[in-house]
């Protein structure tokens, strides 16, 4: 498949699409005019695909500086009668939540969809919060597709719903839906209106106490009306298999339930709630009356389970609700067919429902992700640790942030001691600086600095803090796949854009010490870090070197290889133990070797070898 097929594919054509790609097609079919995001896995590919296709589709797309701004861009577009789409990972919605609460009050004119990609089991996140709570917190309709086809179709439905009730709609996926691939049959495209007109109506769009009180009344009325729809919609379907057991489920969990009951031929009726908030009480009540026992299967929190209990309590029904709360199903983490099968076993009192899987396997070493060969972060970590040891600084604290460099938590770098969220490296450094006597060295990436690093930096200077901030500028948003950010001369649609200078921002914040280093120059970097560590106040060091994965980077010189001189190498393992580059290993003959196919010629190992046993060698030409 060519990525352009997502836009150019014709009605009735089928494509093998990722859930995230299907969301993009859904946006095109719905006639979305404005789309915005801050990259975050598991939602990142939506932005990557839009970045390629938005121009051709005639829609505006941006990588916003953070999720709050992304949501605000979309809200304003929707207030101007343009259909808008904003999407983010689950924790991104925390950042956007301040404005989300208000746009629920103001409502929208053009349709607005907020897609949140939750990450049960935390494949690439700091938590597994269940964003279905946000639908309840903001009082917004919630849709939960189970597969790529549904993602696309429900995107379209969401815009209709949003416009009919003038309310933003939340679409919740999870990793296994976002990163599930399946057959998607396309529908026709709708023309994207990119330009609207904002008609003023302060009573509606400016929530101050007097207007907000009325807005809240309106919101409650809207949700009451939408409840009728949620009870009647065909999105909430009963799979009647003549069973006496009833399962209520949604999203990815629905898939597991269906596979398990079909495979094991269980007497189970299933109520699939795709439109799950406002909770379709009437529909659930009718379903409950047809079954003897009920089980709620959902990822992550027992949200629908409690809703079902409320329905049961309200109507005085006597039925046991099985699920997370009575231990039938696990309370946390992603589910799977095996987990759901065990749940059925527990509920039905069948001791060993699943086949005997008592097979023993030999234990194997784990393989955690690590910084790539040639990664500039590794060099920066090496240099700062050296500088700290030269100065004999004791008990340094390393607040860190969200990005590839969080992998610095691993040995031997151990340069990550405290992490909360995007931008927290600097805010928590302020706290450590005031509440301890320990030296504080904190790390933040370039994209994360723009996202949430600037206000805490201003806070740090104003409140006279004492710490070193290292801005690891690798000229990309690396962890999520290399998206641009405001520090680069290109925007989300691939057009040239003004570069925002990190050093200028830092200076403007009143920082007294600012140096930019090339981390691949180890000695110089160590010297600068030593200076910064002795500075009285907040010192900023910008460690600037491009990520080895970005395409624009200098190509590897195939005529050069790194070589360990066997007569000089005494196998002291300084390189392996202090640098730990994945391209270096200890060979059978007790000498260090470099895997030339992995090596990126960063030259850092040459600089740190105490025996001067590593050199770069020209091959194929004169030596």
């Amino acid at each position: 498949m060519n990525i352009k097929d997502i836009l150019n594919g014709k009605e009735k054509e089928t494509l093998f699409l990722l859930g995230n790609e299907a969301a993009v097609r859904g946006a095109f079919e719905a006639g979305v005019g404005v789309a915005s995001t801050y990259p975050g896995t598991p939602s990142s590919e939506i932005g990557d695909v839009l970045s390629i296709l938005a121009s051709d589709a005639g829609i505006y797309f941006e990588f916003s500086v953070n999720e709050k701004v992304a949501l605000e861009v979309a809200a304003a577009a929707a207030a101007s009668e343009v259909r808008s789409f904003t999407f983010m990972k689950h924790v991104g919605l925390n950042v956007a939540s301040d404005s989300l609460m208000s746009v629920a009050y103001t409502g929208v004119r053009g349709g607005m969809v907020v897609l949140t990609a939750d990450d049960p089991s935390m494949f690439s996140s700091q938590n597994e919060q269940d964003n279905r709570y946000y639908a309840r917190l903001a009082n917004l309709p919630l849709l939960e597709p189970s597969n790529p086809q549904e993602v696309k179709d429900i995107m379209k439905y969401a815009y209709k719903l949003s416009e009919e009730f003038e309310i933003p709609v939340i679409l919740r996926t999870t990793t296994r839906v976002s990163h599930m691939r399946g057959k998607v049959e396309l529908s026709s495209l709708n023309h994207a209106k990119q330009n609207g007109f904002f008609e003023k109506d302060p009573k509606r769009f400016v929530p101050v106490p007097t207007t907000a009180r009325l807005m809240h009344q309106d919101l409650v009325k809207k949700i009451d009306n939408i409840t009728i729809l949620a009870n009647e919609t065909s999105l909430n379907t009963i799979h009647d298999r003549n069973g006496h057991i009833g399962v209520i489920t949604s999203g990815s969990a629905f898939n597991y339930v269906m596979d398990v009951i079909e495979e094991n031929n269980l007497p189970v009726n299933v109520l699939k709630l795709t439109f799950s908030y406002p909770f379709p009480e009437k529909k659930v009540l009718e379903f409950l009356e047809t079954v003897e026992t009920v089980m709620v299967v959902e990822e992550v929190d027992p949200i629908m389970e409690k809703e079902v209990m409320a329905v049961i309590g309200k109507h005085g029904i006597h039925k046991t609700v099985n699920g997370k709360l009575n231990g039938t199903l696990p309370m946390i983490y992603e589910y799977s067919p095996d987990i759901v099968l065990e749940g059925f076993g527990r509920m039905l009192g069948v001791e060993k429902f699943s086949e005997d899987t008592n097979t023993k396997f030999i234990p194997v070493p784990n393989r955690p992700p690590t910084l790539c060969p040639g990664c500039p972060h590794r060099a920066a970590y090496y240099a700062i640790k050296k500088a700290i040891s030269y100065l004999n600084l004791e008990d340094p604290i390393f607040p860190t942030d969200i990005g590839c460099y969080t992998l610095g938590v691993e040995s031997p770098y151990e340069a990550a001691d405290y992490l909360l969220s995007m931008g927290s490296s600097i805010g928590t450094s302020c706290g450590f600086s005031k509440s301890t006597e320990q030296p504080v060295v904190s790390f933040i990436g370039d994209s994360t600095f723009f996202h949430a690093g600037i206000p805490p930096l201003i806070n740090a200077v104003h409140n006279k803090n004492q710490f070193v901030l290292v801005i690891l500028d690798n000229s990309t948003t690396a962890m999520t796949g290399g998206q641009p950010h405001p520090g680069l001369p290109v925007d989300g649609m691939g057009k040239t854009a003004p570069e925002i200078s990190i050093p200028k921002i830092v200076k403007a914040a009143g920082i007294g010490y600012l140096e930019t280093i090339n981390p691949m120059n180890v000695k110089k970097s160590e010297a600068v870090f030593q200076e910064a560590l002795q500075f009285n106040g907040v010192a900023v060091v910008i460690s600037k070197y491009p990520c080895m994965l970005i395409k624009s980077r200098k190509k590897k010189d195939k005529r050069i290889i790194m070589e360990v001189l066997e007569d000089r190498c005494n196998n002291c393992e300084t390189c392996l133990q202090e640098l730990t580059c994945p391209a270096m290993y200890n060979s059978e003959i007790g000498k260090i070797k470099i895997d030339t196919s992995m090596c990126r010629q960063c030259n850092v190992c040459i600089q740190i070898c105490p025996e001067k046993a590593i050199r770069s060698k020209r091959i194929g030409g004169d030596d």
Partner: protein, 199 residues
Amino acid sequence: MHPHNIYISGVGGQGIIKTSIIIGESAMKNGLPVVMSEIHGMSQRGGVVSTQLKIGSSYSPLIEEGRANLLLAFEPLEALRALSMINQESYVVMNTSPIYPFNLKESKYPYPDPKIILDELDKHAKKVITLDAEKIAKEAGHILSLNMVMLGGAITIPKFPLSEEIVMKSMKDNLPEKSITINLKAFNDGFNVCKAQFL
């Protein structure tokens, strides 16, 4: 009917997701229902990568433990790690060239000896097919064609639901034109090396 389940495992950067898309898309174009799961993000920085394909009737893309018909392992250690996915009727197609985890020095367990790996796989599978995909890929013209060597090997197992021609068509749809000759050679070489092990 039970779906034909393929579990693919290896290390980030080996082209596992592309391989899976080629299989999945050819199944879809051949009129077979297919779902697939892939993991993106942090796990790709030199960590374990796995995908799961279910060809045939299935709602979820996750394979139940012990239910993979084929374990396509791009790396020996990752073959061992995925052993719980197979049963005594399953086939394993494994690349024998290892990629050592960076933190092996601190690991509680050693990287197992190739003989131990093979014995362990033999114990749990119906048949284990091995090939040095790295060497075959390099000989075909580029190390990056390793994934197509593996794909060629995969389709040799009995009852693989897709024919050679269909998979090759899907390769042409999904790989850059400039590298297609190398990739097709890699695919054929992988196929031949594995096919011979069934004779």
